[in-house]
């Protein structure tokens, strides 16, 4: 068993190439970032049923809802809060300068371009899922919301794929059963690879699909 990574080592991971060039204030701010990444509350996930509850609450309306915030007020709040955000985030400025292109690439999308409803196979009869696909310069961001998938034993995981008419599979990401809402990425377009599948895979160094499909769906223009 190896030693746990120290806080300093985790902070160095975040700082990346700039790790050796930070001032005392930036080091302190970096420690806050590392603390937040190590805080379970940063990683909490709502139950899959919350989406339906939100839809019911909004569509059905709530008479006692209080509207205390407007976008204008929020803008003012954002500016007022910028000092706090600077404290938390300024340590990352050097890396941002290096990788600003990646930011533009990953956040340049313009809404949902493709959608899919995935149906369960006999391997997971209680499962279902939906996927929204957004195109950006970085590729195709796929927001997958899966429900009813079973917890998997140690050594197995779920893997999502896009498939074309010729049967060629492109892996788009892996996740565990605890992830009700996961983000996947594809370098190929769902227009050319219109079938989305989720399979159960084993950690056996075999990169090919196991063909143990649990969810299957067709991707259509959104």
């Amino acid at each position: 068993m190896t030693d746990r990574p120290t806080n300093e080592e985790r902070e160095a991971l975040i700082a990346g190439d700039q790790a050796g060039a930070l001032g005392p204030d930036e080091v302190a701010e970096l420690a806050l970032m590392a603390d937040l990444l190590a805080d379970p509350s940063t990683w909490v996930e709502p139950d899959a049923g919350l989406e339906d509850a939100v839809v019911r609450a909004v569509v059905g309306g709530e008479p006692d809802a209080i509207m205390g915030v407007t976008p204008t007020a929020t803008l003012a709040h954002r500016r007022a809060a910028s000092r706090r955000r600077r404290f938390a985030l300024s340590a990352l400025a050097p890396a941002a300068a290096i990788a600003i292109g990646a930011v533009v690439a990953t956040r340049g999308g313009t809404g949902t371009d493709f959608r899919s409803q995935l149906s369960a196979t006999a391997l997971a009869p209680g499962a279902r899922a939906s996927a929204d696909v957004t195109h950006s310069r970085a590729g195709f961001r796929i927001s997958l919301v899966a429900r009813g998938l079973s917890p998997l034993p140690q050594g197995e995981y779920y893997q999502a794929w896009l498939k074309n008419a010729g049967g060629t599979l492109v892996p788009i990401g892996t996740f565990s059963s605890s992830d009700a809402h996961v983000t996947l990425w594809s370098g190929v377009s769902p227009k050319d690879f219109p079938t989305i599948t989720v399979t159960i895979e084993a950690t056996d160094n075999d990169q090919a699909s196991s063909n143990r499909r649990v969810l299957v769906g067709e991707v259509r223009a959104g």
Binding site: L37, V44, H181
Partner: protein, 182 residues
Amino acid sequence: MDPDALDAFRRREGSGVRALYREYGNLVYVVAHRVLGRHDLAEEAAQQTFVRACQAADRIDVDRDPAPWLATIAKRAAIDIYRREARRSTTALADVAANDPSVVTLPPDLDVLDAVWHVRRAIDELPAEEATIVRLQHLDGMTQTEIAEKLGIALGTIKSRSHRAHRKLAALLGHLRSSSND
């Protein structure tokens, strides 16, 4: 946000509500959970957040990222619930178990809320396999060697994915920081 989805949200159509929730539901829940520390109350706050957002949806500027606005609504909804729960105490503290979930021991940590939702949003932008590695490194405190063994992936792949993930995190958070200085 997709203008069509936003229009559907304004009209209280289920498709629009789902679109907004799938994009920002985790973010809203994390903010609420940070304030309230309880799953059930955080879900209540999340529902209230989207109801309040819908009531003000006609004033959303489609050219602006709605995430800060939703996070602020979530924070206020959660604080309202926190205050309600704080007034609800009817049992002598001495009669309540120390680990009772209704025992509120600390006030909401509001100062770091903005940083929390920025971090969570950046995490949600990562591909799943990279987010998993970041989680194992920071939350579970695993070494890259341990992660490679756990996931059955070559150590070199883990290292490159980790490096790529942290560069993305830094870039995403740096981008948000620069936008706060407008």
